[in-house]
């Protein structure tokens, strides 16, 4: 089989672009509650013994979850990309999905 029969795998290209997009979004997801958390840590915004404190804690643990969720999302795409050949035979075009 000569090299001319191998072409770039469009799915690989799409997943690579998807990975790039996900990586661009990574910080936006991971830091989505950072400003809320910062404000709740500021004594001048909302304080109180129970409701406000509970809300602050709810924000904090969700804020702490977000970086992991963002990374998982990227990992999911990276896994799909790594299991996808970069090139395929021309005659396989149209069958580029997971085998």
């Amino acid at each position: 089989m000569c090299d001319e029969d191998m072409v770039t795998n469009p799915r690989y290209t799409a997943l690579a672009a998807l990975l790039e997009l996900a990586e661009e979004k990574r910080d936006s997801i991971a830091e989505a509650l950072d400003e809320v958390h910062r404000l709740m840590s500021d004594r001048g915004v909302w304080t109180g013994p129970t409701t406000a404190t509970q809300f602050g804690e709810d924000v904090e643990y969700r804020k702490n979850d977000l970086p992991g969720l963002a990374d998982n999302l990227i990992e999911e795409i990276r896994d799909a990309l790594s299991s996808t050949p970069e090139e395929v035979r021309r005659d396989e075009l149209g069958h580029t999905g997971p085998l």
């Binding site: 979004k25 936006s28 989505a32 001048g44 109180g48 409701t51 406000a52 969700r62």
Partner: protein, 663 residues
Amino acid sequence: MSGDYSSISVDGLNDLIAAMMSGNRKLSSGLATLRSRMQDESVSTQVFTGIDTIAEWIDLQIPGLERRRNMVIALLGDEPTSTQIRIDEPIPFDSPEEAEQHGRDMAAPFLESGVFDEEYFDSLMADFEPYMNDPDVMAGFYLALGPELAERLPDMLYQSGTDDGARYVEQFSVGLAAAMNADNVLGHSSDYRDEFKGFREHFMEPTEHPSMAWGRLALLQFGDFDGWWVAHVARNNVLETFEGEEGEFTDFRHSIIPEMLGLPTDTAALAFNVLGNNPQAARFALDSWSDLSLEEYADRVYGMQQSLGTGDDIAEGFGQALVAGSGASEDPPDKGMFASEFAFTTILALGRFDDTPWPMREPMSQIATAYAEELLVGSFTLDARARESSMDAPDNFDLPPGLDPAFYLSPEATYRFLHGFAHEDRYFEGFDAAVEELYESVTSDALAADLQATENDERDPGYFERAMNMFGTLAGLQYQAAHDVRGNMDAQEEQRRAFLQRTLSELLTLSPTPPIPGKKVLVDYGWKLTKITVGRLTKSWANESGGRVDELEMEMYQGRLLYDYMIADTLLQNGYPHTEPIPPNLVNDSGDGLRDPAEIADDPDLWTEFYEWVDSNQEGWDERPHRPPFDEKFEDAMAHLDSGDGNRADGIAGETDWDSSVR
């Protein structure tokens, strides 16, 4: 969660809501493309479950945050939006929408025909009262009701015959303000400001029906409404007509009953009352947008006061509106640019009238109390004696340090204004208390500045004497004003004698009070002593001593002695040096000042000794050639006080021509 509360700032919560919305967007719509492309590429989107859960949680929290923000806005009053406001938790209703719906449910019966009797209102208001500061509930109530029904509420209340109508109309008013002040600028829930547009416009529609105007104005009596809007409602419903050619012949009464729900039925009185509760509205309505000058307004109001049955109500309301516009109803008084310009105009306008109707006297006294410093400076006659009143300082006007008046009255304008409320001593009480505070600070600062100047080998600027001129002239002007308006001199002298006796009695019982460190006990009475010296009741022991004196004369001498004693004490307390040691009979235990006045007041021999000691301090200081000897400083201060009180005040009062305008 008993005992739970939230402490919240509006600014902080607005930032928090904005941050929550932004976070929600980042986790939902901000990821829509990524999610859809992952689905297109058959990549598992299982991980979105966690992200979606957080985004949904954020979305669910926002209404609760908006509820709290709205509740705090209504409680804010005039405080800045950065102020921390406390509310109890848990809050009623979890979202603005739920709270609004409750308000709509409360209003629903009014939309159907029914009997709105006493029982109905009592039951409604039991539910209404807990929410009258809740903007969401109140917005629901008033938006459902609409402006046409809302303006009829006070009348319906009155018709119901309820005994609690006065309280209920106040609650309706507070509730309407709570609803109209909530400004939901961040969307998500409704924007009440937009929704109330029609409501605002309806109330601003001119009406010639006193009953409609009365209902509108009754609803605006108590709440804290936007000044611009209130001014328009008051003007369009009443004051435009009041200012017109037919104004003085128009009957503004809604009903022949003098009072309904504790409010005057005269809509002109009610319009002024509304302005009396809203300083900014008072300035807009009576000054910025008015076709009449304040002097013309007063002229018309005073005319009605004498000719109409409800004229007293009109004058009373007008007075309160002027107090509000002048910033004198605030605590502490608002003496900012707008308020003080209005106060300046008011003082000149009201000073035009020789005869001030009684309902105006208390308001004038309130304005005088707020602007005591300006009236004190208005009494300064050593510079620019022939000045006209102005917002700017006259040329070469050398005031004692520490005085920074908002405007500069002429001595005549000062006298004219004092004349307006000099009818009874009680009107002077607040004003005198304010002058008393000024007395303590101004005399002390003035002496310090004089001492500093001579310390620096500069000539003595004589600020202490200048201060004495002001206080003496002011006391004299008050005396002259009271003299002129009270007419019955015997009664007046009787009152002044009672004041002298009261002050002496207060002072002479000071000694049992343990001295407070740093507290200048005698100086605390400085202004009162100044006033009793101008009553022409006191006599100087220094000049007239000798012979037997009866009890009455003894009081007269005591009054003057205590004043002189206080001046000497003030000089000593402020470190004014003297060359001759204080005689053993007069020196206090610590050896650095005079004995308590109560200890010498009953012994004329000690008085004589006191005056002789003061007189003995004739020597100056070689190293401070510009510093006057103690006795000279003392005598100069007295001379300025006496001439201010005497010739100058007499001259100002005597030269006042009530037929001419105020300069």
